[in-house]
């Protein structure tokens, strides 16, 4: 994500613009229109696929936030998704919590469990943290499928995820989709607001020069930990949404391969754009499923598209679309 100087520097804030925010408003409008049109043009089955894709885009948004703000290579999202998903499921199953409250608590648990990881980001370089994140996801996926937690997670087979209810009636079909779409839209809007805030600007300064940020009195460690918690919160929320969208949740869904796919989705869409996470997820997750590609063929397609994007459009498809060369005037 490239930072450009603003024409007029504000009084005390760092004088840089945030591309993520520049496209935020139009991005949210495009998302709202896409989410509203989907139930009209898609069949029930296709809508379920779309809802699952939309749910994944929340986790991808977290990856994009980490990458675009401080260059963090987040490979821990599947671990957070499985934590958020199963915490929400437990709350719904055991204490009959409403879905939204269970999802919020699942998100909070995901954020809290990410604090030690955030502490590690302060002490490790980018690649070391990526390796550790990879190991963490591997560990959590293995623990969740193991005998130790089989009663909670259902082991390899997983568990059904009950549909959310309103006034005692299950929200299914378009209503279930609407709930997921609304939560997703709100989470994207929160990301836009968050990165327009002072914290967002500080993170960008940290990305450019950590020493300058510290010299200016910024507690960079605290901001890194906060960012890791926020990114993981998006992952945990996504886990609950995926469970709700597909009506099922199983630990093998959230393995290390998913961490690479989520990163691929963020990069293909454009990590520096709010809409990038949404676009990347639709291209790599929803469209191949919609076209009836088998899982393995989908993965091959993901690899080819990722390679193509990283070579031809290294800042993502949205960045490439923004810079289409204009026709030369005669």
């Amino acid at each position: 994500m490239s930072a450009r100087p603003t024409p007029v520097a504000s009084s005390w804030r760092p004088s840089i613009t945030i591309p993520l925010v520049l496209q935020a408003r139009s991005g949210l409008v495009v998302m709202l229109i896409s989410l509203a049109i989907a139930p009209v043009i898609l069949s029930d089955y296709e809508l379920t696929l779309f809802a699952t894709g939309v749910s994944y885009s929340v986790a991808v948004l977290g990856v994009a936030l980490g990458f675009s703000s401080v260059g963090m290579l987040t490979l821990t999202q599947p671990a957070m998704m499985v934590i958020g998903g199963f915490v929400a499921l437990q709350l719904i199953e055991l204490w009959h919590f409403p879905f939204l409250l269970a999802a919020v608590i699942g998100t909070a648990v995901g954020m809290l469990s990410a604090i030690p990881l955030g502490w590690l980001t302060c002490r490790l370089d980018k690649f070391s943290f990526a390796v550790l994140g990879f190991a963490f996801t591997y560990l959590v996926a293995m623990l969740m499928s193991s005998r130790l937690l089989v009663d909670v997670t259902g082991g390899e087979l997983g568990k059904p995820f009950p549909a959310a209810t309103a006034f005692g009636l299950p929200l299914q079909g378009v209503w279930g989709y609407s709930l997921i779409a609304a939560v997703t839209l709100v989470s994207f809007a929160v990301a836009a607001v968050l990165f327009r805030s002072t914290m967002g600007r500080i993170l960008l300064v940290m990305n450019q020069d950590d020493v300058v940020a510290r010299t200016a009195g910024v507690n960079t460690n605290l901001h890194r930990i906060s960012l890791t918690a926020i990114v993981s919160g998006y992952g945990a929320l996504s886990g609950a949404l995926v469970g709700q969208a597909s009506g099922f949740i199983a630990p093998p869904q959230f393995d290390v391969a998913l961490s690479i796919s989520l990163l691929a989705m963020a990069l293909v869409g454009g990590a520096g754009y709010l809409l990038g996470a949404f676009v990347g997820t639709l291209i790599l997750q929803f469209v191949p499923a919609f076209l009836g590609f088998e899982q393995i063929d989908r993965e091959i397609l993901v690899g080819i598209i990722l390679l193509f994007c990283l070579v031809a459009a290294p800042n993502g498809l949205l960045a490439a679309l923004r810079h289409i060369p204009m026709r030369r005037r005669p």
């Binding site: 690649f127 591997y138 623990l143 391969a257 690899g303």
Partner: protein
């Protein structure tokens, strides 16, 4: 029991060390962290497997064919991710993620349905008593081959003309190019060498365990860990770190008696090692 477990850990650890060695080789020459380092080895192992089982080739011929295939795959990877359009090391490293996804998905597509497979025995079953420890021939072969590979890479990089060029490119890429070093050729040699070593590791892992598309995930992870513990610089330290990780994993899986706790311990060792290395690096910078 203890000695046998340690020997098992050493043979596994050497494989981790070799993966770390390929990672360091590429980071030092091209600046790229190759996420596909281990999985290209898995793909090569499948090629050897097909050559032996379907085409009935002798083992030696199959391995020679696989070596040629590995070198070509290395050249193809280099061409498709680096040469096609240069970029900064982070972006180039991310491009290797796509190679990882493609290679693994292709392996699942072609051979995933009936996996895992038992790789044909390259060495006979049975073993010998070494210093009172019963070592099977497979473990001995793995240790011997790993040592030979490590020494060969060390000799190539330390005592040959191409090694001198590799070190020059590693030290200062632009100056080396200005002085007439064919940087692209050196890169190509490094990629071919790294993929060749990965291919051998793939075959050895298949010998020790089973052949399947996901067999390299733990090896990749441990290889990354060993390379990181060696600060992506010292191949010797990476080999030692790999062996240490192998021994810890082997001991913990036997004595903790639960694979889950063994993995937790491995993660704790990795996190602790990385933190310690970071601490040491900061101290060096401070002094």
């Amino acid at each position: 029991m203890l000695a046998a477990t340690v020997v098992g850990g050493i043979s596994l650890g050497f494989l981790y060390g070799l993966v770390a060695l390929t990672l360091i080789l590429l980071v030092r020459t091209t600046g790229v962290l190759n996420f596909a380092a281990a999985d290209v080895g898995m793909f090569c192992a499948f090629i050897a497997f097909i050559a032996i089982t379907q085409f009935q080739m002798p083992v030696v011929a199959a391995i020679a064919l696989t070596a040629v295939f590995a070198a070509l795959l290395g050249a193809l990877t280099y061409g498709s991710i680096i040469l096609i359009r240069p970029a900064d090391p982070l972006m180039l490293s991310l491009r290797t993620l796509s190679i990882l996804i493609i290679v693994r998905a292709l392996a699942y597509k072609f051979w995933g349905a009936n996996s895992p497979y038992r790789f044909p025995r390259i060495v006979p079953d049975g073993g010998i008593l070494v210093l009172g420890v019963n070592m099977n021939y497979t473990q001995l072969t793995v240790i011997a081959l790993a040592l030979v590979m490590a020494l060969a890479v060390s000799w190539l990089t330390g005592a040959t003309r191409i090694g001198l060029m590799l070190r020059a490119v590693s030290s200062d890429r632009e100056t080396a190019a200005d002085l007439g070093v064919a940087v692209i050729r050196v890169d190509l040699v490094a990629w071919c060498m790294a993929t060749l070593v990965a291919g051998v590791v793939g075959i050895l892992v298949a010998q020790l365990t089973f052949l399947s598309p996901d067999m390299m995930s733990p090896v990749l992870l441990a290889g990354f860990a060993a390379a990181q513990l060696a600060d992506m610089q010292s191949m010797r330290t990476a080999l030692i770190a790999g062996v240490a990780l192998g021994i810890i994993q082997s001991l913990s899986s036997v004595y903790l008696n639960q694979p889950e706790w063994s993995q937790v311990l491995s993660f704790a060792v990795l996190a602790g090692g990385l933190l310690l290395r970071g601490q040491l690096r900061r101290r060096v910078v401070a002094t």
